[in-house]
Amino acid sequence: MTRSLTVLATGPLTTVQDGGRPGQGALGVGRAGACDRAAARLANRLVGNDPDAAVLEVTLGGLVLRADADLVVTTTGARCSDAHNAPTALPAGRELRLGLPATGLRTYVAVRGEVAVEPVLGSRSTDLLSGLGPPVLSRGDVLTVGDPAGPMPGVDLAPVPDPPGGEVTVRVLPGPRADWFAEEAVRALTGTPWTVTDESNRIGLRLSGAALERTRTGELASEGMVRGALQVPPSGQPVLFLADAPVTGGYPVIGYVDDGDVDRCGQLRPGQTLRFRGALS
């Protein structure tokens, strides 16, 4: 009998994500993949999957799944289930219900054997910018579960902290066009708080704060960028790009969030404040 999960509710947004599509930028294909890569990898390891196997990325909880066979599941990231950071048996007919996380934005659901939807260009990730990959989950979807890749890890619980609420500080590094900005703008980036606005999504966090003024005017020919880029459009309000970042952009990138800190940015909710620590020159 086919092992599968039936989607009874999706919450605001649930997508399938894996390690994404590296190496296809020259074709205009972005990387995508989990917004909080560390949480997705942890979820996979807890159920004995390959670290970059396909998981569900659940935005603000609300997902309900029913097991159609005896399965093993776990959740990581934003805490909102009884199976959090712990491999948990989900017998046939039982439901995994995600509530509303107290902190954090994205919860990852891994199932032993991974979510085996059809890959597109070598990945099962949904890219909300380009539209590539499997469709966003809908109620009634039946997700096939693959065969386990490796043994169970022999771990009952992963002691990792929950994503914090309130203010979060991340490290920032120079971007290619830091010299297009006034010194005051560079100081404002690291010296003032930034609020995550509700126009944020998997593509990026739209931040609100001091207007970052350019000293150099004129057009920038579009150039390549990756997750973590802090791009400054004419409004002066930066966008911090996340998993579904475009491959190229035409506005100057003043800085980059250190790659080791970008995952934490993927857990920020609208209204939370973000501070940048570091030097841009």
Partner: protein, 204 residues
């Protein structure tokens, strides 16, 4: 060559012109640098995305400085022919902008060989640069909310083919039935950097 920082995992190499970009990209794909996951050419730059588990940014800077550019175009690379029905909504406007007849626009567009310089905007959207005379056509004053897939268009110094329906501000010359991007085909993108393109007038 200027190497600009792009955070903890990437580097942006800035070059003098598009030919230098094509040359460096051709060299980096022919002889890949170890630990470089992705090479993304653009109009004046090449982005190198590294795998920090395999290499360091300093090692990649050294390797890219040692790389000898190759002739990126006018080589015996793959040639794609795209049949085009030249009935685009902006053909008349483009002719007027250039001060020639619509027939002359078609003659020039089909009479030159194009090279895909880089992709962007959408998966499989190639920016094509002419081997002959340069073009200079402004974008439309107001972009269309809906450009049909297969539309063959011009903007600035480039020509391109819309892989799928999308908004767009390029001037539309015509349409092709050839799918320039198909996820079920390998390779999915027909118009990859370095590929040469010839447009053929398919009549109406």
């Amino acid at each position: 060559m200027r190497v600009l920082p792009s955070g903890s995992t990437a580097l942006l190499v800035e070059l003098d012109d598009l030919d230098a970009v094509l040359g460096l990209y051709a060299a980096l794909t022919a002889e890949p640098i170890e630990g470089v996951l992705d090479v993304v050419p653009a109009a004046r730059t090449v982005l190198l995305v590294t795998d920090p588990a395999v290499t360091t940014l300093a090692a990649v800077v050294q390797a890219v400085r040692r790389t000898r550019p190759r002739p990126g175009r006018r080589e015996g690379g793959e040639l794609v022919e795209l049949p085009v029905v030249y009935d685009g909504a902006d053909l008349g406007d483009v002719a007027a902008l250039l001060g020639v007849t619509a027939e002359e626009v078609v003659r020039r567009h089909t009479g030159t060989e194009w090279t895909v310089a880089f992709c962007g905007f959408a998966p499989g959207f190639g920016y094509l640069t002419p081997d002959g005379e340069a073009w200079d056509v402004p974008r439309r004053d107001s972009p269309r909310t809906r450009v049909p897939p297969g539309s063959v268009a011009l903007a600035g110094e480039f020509s391109g083919v819309y892989p799928r329906e999308s908004p767009g501000g390029w001037q539309l010359l015509g349409r092709t039935d050839v799918a320039v991007f198909d996820v079920d085909r390998d390779p999915a993108a027909l118009l990859r950097p370095g590929v040469r393109v010839r447009f053929v007038d398919a009549g109406s």
